[in-house]
């Protein structure tokens, strides 16, 4: 590899890392937190079978899983101004991503809650617990364990997908790489470099997942 290429790679690295820390990570964190809350609410109204809300949640999931994320992003960022709602690129991305991810994640949470055997609830009733106590002390902790790997998978997916925000002018890590590539005429090197940073980020996340899964495990080493 030529010296010039090395120089470009090395000099661009701090810049890319800066955008990673300043934009990509906060963007991902905001989206994940919001979509988790929304997904939980969507799952809950379905599990509790609250009449009108249940139906609304089904329609919501149908709509946001059935249309492309990038189209949803374009509608919010480029489309909404025509009806008088103008949002900056960053909040537009957060909203579009959160709405979209919540639809998927609510299905994970709903299925996990429903995967907890009915017998657990029945046993809860028979020792005198009420529905709220059964949910918070028995069903949700067990559902959390079931949902955890899939929900964490969503976080890993989101970290990479956040690069799509570049398409509505959010300057995050990938957009920064694009700009440097355009200036230096070295797309191959720059895109590989940014790919490596994403890979590194997700390697850290994967280890974190493994660690947390162990912590979440109820099965403890035998005591005797």
């Amino acid at each position: 590899m030529s010296e010039r290429l090395w120089e470009i790679l090395i000099s661009s690295l701090p810049n890319l890392l800066l955008y990673c820390v300043k934009v990509t990570i906060p963007l991902t964190a905001c989206i994940y937190a919001l979509s988790l809350v929304l997904a939980f609410l969507l799952a809950l109204v379905q599990v509790l079978n609250i009449r009108v809300l249940n139906r609304a949640a089904r329609i919501y999931v149908w709509l946001f899983r059935g249309t492309p994320l990038i189209v949803q992003m374009y509608i919010i960022f480029f489309g909404l101004p025509s009806v008088g709602i103008t949002l900056d690129a960053f909040p537009s991305a957060v909203i579009a991503f959160s709405l979209n991810y919540a639809a998927y994640m609510s299905e994970t949470i709903r299925a996990s809650i429903q995967a907890v055997p009915e017998g657990q609830t029945e046993a809860g009733y028979m020792i005198g617990l009420n529905y709220f106590q059964i949910m918070t002390r028995i069903v949700l902790p067990q559902a959390a364990k079931i949902a955890f790997p899939t929900l964490f998978g969503s976080l890993i997916g989101l970290t990479k997908d956040s690069s799509l925000a570049a398409s509505i002018t959010v300057v995050e890590m990938f957009k920064a790489a694009q700009q440097i590539a355009a200036k230096t005429f070295e797309p191959m090197a720059l895109y590989c470099e940014v790919a490596l940073i994403y890979l590194l980020l997700n390697t850290v996340l994967t280890s974190l997942q493994r660690y947390l899964e162990k912590r979440l495990s109820w099965r403890q080493p035998a005591v005797d």
Binding site: P117, G119, Q120, E122, A123, G124, Y125, M126, I127, G128, L129, N130, Q133, R137, I138, P141, Q142, K145, W218, R219, Q220, A222, V223, D224
Partner: protein, 247 residues
């Protein structure tokens, strides 16, 4: 103490319980026997409101009400006084044995933690599970899980302990250890209604046997009488089948 009258129950259009009447007195051990599909489990589930009955009256001490008219608060009050042991244990999988037992005392009955712990240790000792108090259900054998489940349901001193085929998912050796515990509890005077296929247990431990077939109580008799001189033809047939005496 506990009495149901004209209890009716169905799954869809299939009527599983047809006009059941029975009562349990304090200190009694009742074995409910009968072939599969006779409605034994449904009977237990409907008097603990896990399955919605179509109609009938329930009397518990001096509380009496039409079963379909019970409010959810009343159901919860009644359940507070019923212990229930499931065929497949249903221990809370996210809790240790000790936490399983304490849950009904601390969360449901707001008992002081120290006191609940003392009671928990006592009942775990009673079912020989104190040494496994910190284990999670997944780390235990079926017999151990069932013994822990029994501890959980007697910890709050229910007026009646309902047991739904407590040994059906256990192999013979583990069945024995659970039956030994139940025999011990019966000797202590705990009121029990046991749905069971263990005829030896029914014969030796139960005071009364209720024989069900096709959703009705066919025979309700003292245990010795039921096993030695069954009155109904269906009961005789059933006993011949389960005791393997085809002569």
């Amino acid at each position: 103490m506990l009495e149901v009258k004209n209890l009716r129950c169905s799954y869809g259009t299939n009527q599983v319980l047809k006009d059941i009447n029975f009562r349990v007195d304090k200190g009694e051990v009742i074995a409910i026997v009968g072939s599969s599909g006779s409605g034994k489990t449904t009977l237990l589930r409907s008097i603990s409101f896990l399955h919605k009955a179509d109609g009938g009256t329930i009397r518990f001490f001096d509380f009496e009400k039409e079963i379909t008219r019970l409010k959810s608060a009343e159901i919860r009050q009644l359940r507070m006084r019923l212990g229930y042991v499931f065929q497949n244990f249903n221990l809370f999988r996210n809790m240790t044995v000790r936490q399983n037992v304490m849950e009904g005392l601390v969360t449901a009955r707001h008992m002081d933690k120290e006191e609940a712990r003392k009671i928990t240790d006592e009942v775990l000792k009673k079912v020989d599970m104190l040494g496994r108090a910190e284990y999670y259900p997944d780390q235990l054998s079926g017999g151990q899980q069932q013994r822990a489940a029994i501890a959980r349901s007697i910890a709050f001193r229910p007026d009646v302990l309902l047991l739904d085929e407590p040994t059906s998912s256990l192999d013979p050796e583990l069945t024995r250890e659970v039956l030994n515990i139940l025999t011990r509890l019966a000797a202590e005077g705990i009121t029990m209604v046991v749905v069971t296929h263990e005829m030896e247990f029914a014969r030796n431990v139960a005071d009364r046997v209720i024989f069900m077939e096709g959703g009705v109580v066919v025979e309700d008799a003292p245990a010795a009488e039921f096993f030695n001189r069954p009155r109904q033809e269906a009961a005789k047939r059933f006993l011949r089948t389960v005791t393997g005496d085809f002569g």
